[in-house]
Subunit: 274 residues, 2 copies
């Protein structure tokens, strides 16, 4: 086989270089640009990757919380990743994202070496969902770069094509989603995908609003062996909002393997201005 020079844009985006002990550098990636600055999911993946690439890393991520402290500017970004506590089977991280003007993001992560135990899914995966091939891909023409890096096929609760201000009774969505181009799933893609659910307020109110995620938490139920089984196939995403009040709302999401394993559950708090 011929060697292909193609590198997936997500791999380019998370190709952090070690700049000093506990310090990594990279740049925001235009393929994941949002309306202003980069897609937060890519920043989350970069923050996580700084721990993944750290020489002292133990195990695999089980929990990640990212706080978006300030708008990230296009360009260079540095990550300070400190393993503040390493136990026998768990490791705790504090990570900061810096740009020229200061701290733009913070994160904490918990890594763990897992053991086999009794396991069970208590959340309920949507049933009677058509296969991905039976659902059209969301049109991404005219959208920022980042949604073009996902192949999203909405079964329910699509992003509105027009903001007709017809308020809905709820904000639930169900969609098949994968990286575009196809890419074998790993923790970086799962972390980024956890932020790929559109802000629920758009689905609910079908009107413009200024929004920004302030905090994003993802629990990784999958280990790398399970992610390898998923490969580059679509996974099923579901998302809903819980509460909107005085400038902030929260939403919660799940990412399911085609075989019905819950890969990740994810929660975020979003600023909004109406």
């Amino acid at each position: 086989m011929r060697h292909h020079a193609f590198m997936h844009p997500l791999d380019e985006a998370i190709a952090l270089q070690i700049a000093a002990p506990n310090e990594f550098k990279v740049a925001t990636h235009p393929a994941y640009a949002n309306m202003v600055g980069p897609f937060g999911g890519t920043t989350a993946a970069q923050l996580l990757q700084s721990a993944m690439l750290h020489p002292d890393r133990l195990g695999e991520p089980v929990a990640l919380t990212v706080n978006f402290a300030a708008p990230v500017a296009d360009g260079d970004i540095r990550f300070l990743a400190r393993p503040v506590r390493t136990n026998r089977s768990t490791q705790h991280w504090i990570i900061e994202a810096h740009q020229a003007e200061g701290v733009v993001g913070t994160a904490t992560a918990v890594f763990a070496v897992r053991r086999e135990t009794w396991s069970d899914v208590e959340a309920v995966m949507p049933t009677n969902t058509p296969v991905p091939d039976a659902v059209p891909r969301m049109a991404v023409k005219g959208m920022p770069a980042w949604p073009q890096r996902y192949d999203m096929r909405f079964v329910d609760g699509a992003f509105p094509t027009v903001f007709d201000e017809q308020e809905q009774t709820h904000s639930r969505s169900c969609l098949w989603v994968r990286d575009e181009p196809e890419r074998a799933m790993d923790f970086a893609s799962l972390a980024a995908m956890s932020d790929s659910f559109f802000p629920r307020i758009y689905i609910r109110r079908r009107r413009r609003a200024l929004i920004g995620t302030v905090s994003l938490t993802t629990y990784f139920h999958a280990d790398s062996a399970l992610l390898a089984q998923v490969g580059s196939r679509h996974v099923l995403g579901v998302a809903k909002a819980l509460n909107y009040r005085h400038g902030y709302f929260d939403q919660t999401g799940e990412l399911w393997s085609p075989e019905g394993q819950l890969l990740a559950s994810t929660h975020q708090l979003v600023y909004f201005k109406d």
Copy 2:
């Protein structure tokens, strides 16, 4: 009226003293002891309080993530609280909990000055719930100190009185809960109460397991004005697990005012050994 010297144990537990710039000290409180060390909810309240008491604090908490990095020993505990980014209406914190042997916990918090906006609850509060007076209080005799600091009245999904190993189909609970003794609700009590839902694996499997919360995230939908309306009354708590796999499970909870306002939504990842 006579002055009462009584101080609520939670107020004693969060009576942090400034030790140096960005540094606070206090001790674990025996009234909130768990089987080993203190109740994690009280530690979460202490971590939050270090930002609340900081002279540079802006606004009120909207998001808190606590990572329990190591068992907290009974005794002195120090908190390093840094406002790493202050914007016009938001502020981001990194907080560390230290004991003699090292870092025992980390936290990030987001504080904000809120504005009135369109607001709506999308989550569904349980209906047809009997009033607190109509539900007996959970017996706490023989339990560690911390559950005795709560008045819990289970409508559904009580903590099993015997571990009969009769596995249940789900782990959902619904209960009225308040501090015991009564105490007007504030962010400290709400943060602690977010960790007061018993680990779902006990409800689900009704058997012993070694467990420990590794990460706890709470979104505060209430501001102090709404908390003042709640006062010292019971609030309605609901909790359920999402997924158990290879040594970790996650659970999610909601705390509702009697009038149907969602005060907080809370999520945690728990280590377990079966």
